[in-house]
Structure formats: structure tokens, C-alpha cells
């Protein structure tokens, strides 16, 4: 049984200066998932033969029916889950090298996942504290910048319970930002929010993605969200979880809210919806095959 190797902690090699235009897609692979199977101890096949390459600066959405392994794949991408067979490479290296204290990776969970006992500022600075970054002016500035960029300036001393769901999620994004990640993995971050807050946060994430030059892999259930945000939509089918389609959204950035009401948007949504229906049908076919 092959597993994602967790190597001893080595100094992360410098990937070199980032000379590309922020928000543009360069051919350099950030993440390569090759022939990954994930079988749980109870025999459930969560992923079968997953192959996916994410290039620097891409915004890739993983879309699929419930139970198709989107979140499992994302956790494997974050080095949080072991694979049964196949392998995952980050910047053509092992997680043990690149994932050194998460400098290049950040994860935003389905819920805000804030420490309820800590104030917003302490929550945002958590990754830096875990890296023993100290309390230098530079560190404090990073936290101020992150809070400012997500619109939470002035809420440093609030407790998470004092914030709305949307604001908690912003704090979660700010926490991911302070690490200055090259790769941001987001697991249905806005799934529990109302439509308006969700649209606003979608625009904010797109803006940050462009400004910061992040690479984002974004799990979502929403066809509209996937099309609006992504440069690529990867469609997955269930039972077993596998990648069945990869659709490029060739609409230039920045994407304004007008894009949401354009015929191009409707066209892409139809294309992705059809792919999703095919993916769902594949899962149902498998279910029928299993019937006695």
C-alpha cells in the first residue's frame, strides 16, 4: 500500500521569484494528483484513479454530487489525508518538503473553524503563532493587512460569537491570508451563507486571488458559484469518487457581477450542469448495477 510520504522536516527550497502577472495562468504545476485511490478501512472507495494537475495561478473548482469525494480529495491535496495508492506532488516535491509548517498551503474549511475562546486577532494570527513568528511590527502589520483586506478592521477584539456567519468566514480567510499561501484550498467555504453574502464573498475572494496571485482549489455544490469563480471546473462522480469532466471557463478576469446575467454565463452553467447530470447518472448506474 502506497501512501503520501510525510518526509522529515527539511527547509523548504525557495521556488524562486514569482514573476508572473497576478491572476494570470502560468504553466507551472503547483499540484499534481496522479492515480490516487482512497479506500477507507471499512472498504468504502472514496476515490478511484483521481488525476488532476493544478497550475500556478489557476482557480479550479471541484464540483460534484454529495459523497463524490470532493472534500476527501481536497484534504489529500492539503496533506491531511493519506492516499491508498497513487501519489500527490506539490511543486514537484513531497509534502514533507513543501508543507513545512504550511508556509505555502492554507486551508479554509466548510465552517469558519475559529477558536471560540480567542478574539478575532488571536484567531487570525494563529498560523503565525504556530510558526513562532513572534510579535514583531512586521507580523502585526501582516495581521492588520489581512484584517483590512477582508473588511474586518476594527473587529480585532471581538469574539467569534459576536460576528455574523459571513464575518466569521472572512476571519477564517484572513487567517489563511496571513501565511501568504501559494496554494489556497477551500472546502465549500460559503455553503452555509445566504445568497447575498455568498456573492459578496465570491467577489472578495476573486479580488484577493487576483491581487495576491494565489492558486485556489475550491470545492462547491453550486454550479453558478463554480462558473463565476473558476478558470476550470472539474466535475466528479460518486461511488466511487472520480473525476469525469474538466471544463475550462474561458471568460476573462476581472469578472463583474454583470457576468452573472450574461448569455456566456448561462451557456457555461448549462454545460457544467449537463456534465454534473451525467456524473450523477454514472453514480446511479453503479447503484443499479449493485442491486440484486
Amino acid at each position: 500500500m502506497t501512501a503520501t510520504k510525510i518526509m522529515p522536516l527539511n527547509p523548504a527550497p525557495d521556488p524562486g521569484p514569482d514573476t508572473r502577472e497576478p491572476g494570470t495562468i502560468a504553466p507551472r504545476p503547483v499540484l499534481q494528483v496522479s492515480g490516487v485511490d482512497k479506500i477507507y478501512g471499512n472498504g468504502t472507495v472514496a476515490l478511484k484513479g483521481a488525476d488532476l494537475t493544478v497550475k500556478q495561478g489557476e482557480f479550479v473548482s471541484l464540483l460534484g454530487p454529495s459523497g463524490c469525494g470532493k472534500s476527501t480529495l481536497l484534504r489529500i491535496m492539503a496533506g491531511l489525508g493519506q492516499v491508498t495508492t497513487g501519489n500527490v506532488r506539490w511543486w514537484e516535491q513531497d509534502y514533507g518538503v513543501v508543507g513545512s509548517r504550511g508556509r505555502k498551503l492554507a486551508f479554509v474549511f466548510q465552517n469558519a473553524t475559529l477558536m471560540p475562546w480567542a478574539r478575532v486577532r488571536k484567531n487570525v494570527r494563529l498560523p503565525l503563532d504556530l510558526e513562532h513568528a513572534g510579535k514583531s511590527e512586521d507580523v502585526e502589520q501582516k495581521i492588520d493587512d489581512a484584517l483590512g483586506m477582508v473588511g474586518l478592521k476594527g473587529f480585532d477584539n471581538s469574539f467569534p460569537r459576536e460576528l455574523s456567519g459571513g464575518m466569521q468566514m472572512r476571519a477564517s480567510i484572513a487567517r489563511a491570508m496571513v501565511t501568504e499561501p501559494n496554494l489556497l484550498l477551500m472546502d465549500e467555504p460559503f455553503g452555509a451563507l445566504d445568497e447575498m453574502t455568498r456573492n459578496k464573498l465570491n467577489d472578495d475572494v476573486l479580488k484577493l486571488w487576483k491581487e495576491k496571485g494565489w492558486t485556489i482549489v475550491f470545492v462547491t455544490h453550486s454550479v453558478y458559484e463554480a462558473v463565476y469563480l473558476s478558470s476550470r471546473v472539474v466535475v466528479m462522480a460518486a461511488r466511487p469518487g472520480r473525476i469525469v469532466d474538466d471544463i475550462a471557463i474561458e471568460e476573462p478576469y476581472p469578472r463583474s457581477p454583470n457576468f452573472r446575467v450574461s448569455t456566456e454565463f448561462a451557456g457555461y452553467c448549462r454545460q457544467v450542469s449537463q456534465a454534473l447530470e451525467r456524473a450523477s447518472a454514472m453514480g446511479e448506474d453503479r447503484d443499479e448495477e449493485r442491486q440484486p
Binding site: A78, G102, F107, T113, M115
Partner: protein
């Protein structure tokens, strides 16, 4: 215009149970007087009050002894209990190996083993303290272990992603997560420490300079000083209530900003 006192939540919280207490005492006093019940059978509240005043020096010394054993036992139960919990969460194997012995201590009646402890341990105070620790320690171990394990799995994943040390995980994540459970354990354990101290005193039958409230109850019973017996009982009850209130206050201070149990919800 000021709201009527009856609508004041704080007034009602204190006033309502106080009123019930006063009514019960009144009925008690009137019943004893009406039926002329002798004080060696059921003393009236006034008799008990008089005993509290006249026997105060001996009762106070007994209270100090019981408090000493209770606080000593409670402190040891907290320290040993928390240490055991921290040990348990280090490895499932350690927990599996040792937890049954913690349960064993919980289910063994202290009355049954107190005579042994009193034989083994020369110093009476320490013998009583050990008995009280045995009674008080389990809620601390059980609750704190549960709390240290009840960590948000996503937060734990995040910590693991940042490759934190066990120490960081413990200090920054597990201990704060365990606080509500720990304080729940404290509330139960504080009362049990007092019960353990009193039960151990009954079994030990300690006399002389080291007589606690339980011994005072025994002695008063033998001498048919029933009002004094009730007075000692009242002191034990008041001690228990004050201990519980202290734990509630501490829990409220520690959790009031973030935990549901201590939040003041406005409707």
C-alpha cells in the same frame, strides 16, 4: 418609571427560594410549638439558632477541620485528576490501560475502604484526605479527559497541517477546548470532596483536637444534643452551597466571553 421588583430577574432568583426557605422554617417552628415536640426529638429552628450561637467556638473549630480536609482533598483531586487526564490523552493505549482503575476507585464505596486507609495512614488528617480524594477525583478525570478529546476536528486538522508539536496542540487547542468540561467536573467534585471528608470522619470517628463536623454530629447524637447536631448539619450544608457557588463563579469568570453555558442570552 422603575420596573416592579417582581420583574427584576436577580431579585426573583434570590427572593423566590429565600421566601420558600422562610416559609418552611416558619411552618417547622409553628408545628414544633403547636405539638410541643421535645427538642431531643425535633428541635425548632430557634433552638438550632441558639445552639449555633452558644456552641459556636466548638462548631467553628470543627468546621475548620472539615474545611481543611475538604480543600486539601479537592486540591489534590484537581491536580492528580488533571495530570491523569493529560496522561490519558497522550495515547489511547495509556487511557485503555489506566482508565478502568479510575473507574474502580469510583465504584468502590469509600465507607468500605476508609477503615483500611485509617489503619495504613498514621496521620488522621491525611487518612481523611485520602478518603475524600478517592471520592472526589473521578469527575475531574472523566470530564477533563472528555474535554481534552472533544476538540473541533477541523481545528485539529489545521494544527496538524501546520505540523505543530504536541505541546502546542495541548496548550493552544486541547486545554482551552477542555475548560467547559473541566469546570463541570469541578462543580461535581467540590461537593464530593466535602461528602468524602464527612463520610471519612464518620468512619474514623476522630476525636480530640482534630474533630470535624461529622464527629460533632456523632457526639451530639450520643449526648442527645439534637439542636447542636442540626447546627453542625447546617454548617455542612452551607459549606457545600458556598463551594458550589464558588465553582459556578469561577466557571462563569473563565467562560463568560465565549462558551454557551456562561453566555447571557438576550431575547
Amino acid at each position: 418609571m422603575n420596573a416592579p421588583l417582581i420583574r427584576n430577574e436577580r431579585f426573583v432568583q434570590i427572593g423566590a427560594p429565600l421566601l420558600v426557605g422562610v416559609l418552611v422554617l416558619l411552618v417547622w417552628q409553628l408545628t414544633v410549638m403547636a405539638f410541643e415536640v421535645p427538642k431531643y426529638l425535633v428541635p425548632s429552628p430557634v433552638d438550632i439558632g441558639q445552639s449555633l450561637v452558644s456552641d459556636f467556638p466548638s462548631l467553628f473549630n470543627a468546621l475548620l477541620m472539615t474545611l481543611k480536609v475538604t480543600f486539601l482533598a479537592f486540591a489534590i483531586a484537581v491536580m492528580v485528576g488533571v495530570a491523569a487526564s493529560l496522561l490519558f490523552v497522550q495515547s489511547k493505549w495509556i487511557e485503555i490501560s489506566l482508565f478502568p482503575y479510575a473507574v474502580l476507585m469510583q465504584v468502590t464505596p469509600v465507607v468500605a475502604i476508609a477503615p483500611l486507609i485509617i489503619i495504613w495512614v498514621d496521620d488522621t488528617t491525611w487518612a481523611l484526605t485520602i478518603c475524600a480524594v478517592i471520592v472526589a477525583i473521578f469527575p475531574i478525570i472523566s470530564n477533563t479527559t472528555l474535554g481534552l478529546r472533544s476538540v473541533d476536528p477541523n481545528l485539529l486538522s489545521m494544527f496538524r497541517m501546520y505540523r505543530t508539536s504536541r505541546w502546542q496542540e495541548l496548550m493552544r487547542l486541547r486545554i482551552p477546548s477542555a475548560l467547559p468540561y473541566f469546570f463541570g467536573g469541578l462543580r461535581i467534585s467540590s461537593g464530593l470532596a466535602l461528602i468524602g471528608a464527612v463520610v471519612a470522619e464518620f468512619v474514623a470517628g476522630t476525636g480530640g483536637a482534630q474533630a470535624g463536623l461529622a464527629y460533632m454530629i456523632l457526639q451530639s447524637g450520643y449526648n442527645l444534643q439534637i439542636p447542636k447536631m442540626f447546627a453542625a448539619l447546617i454548617l455542612i450544608t452551607l459549606t457545600g452551597i458556598l463551594l458550589f457557588a464558588l465553582m459556578v463563579w469561577m466557571s462563569d469568570r473563565a467562560l463568560r466571553n465565549w462558551h454557551e453555558s456562561a453566555l447571557k442570552v438576550e431575547h
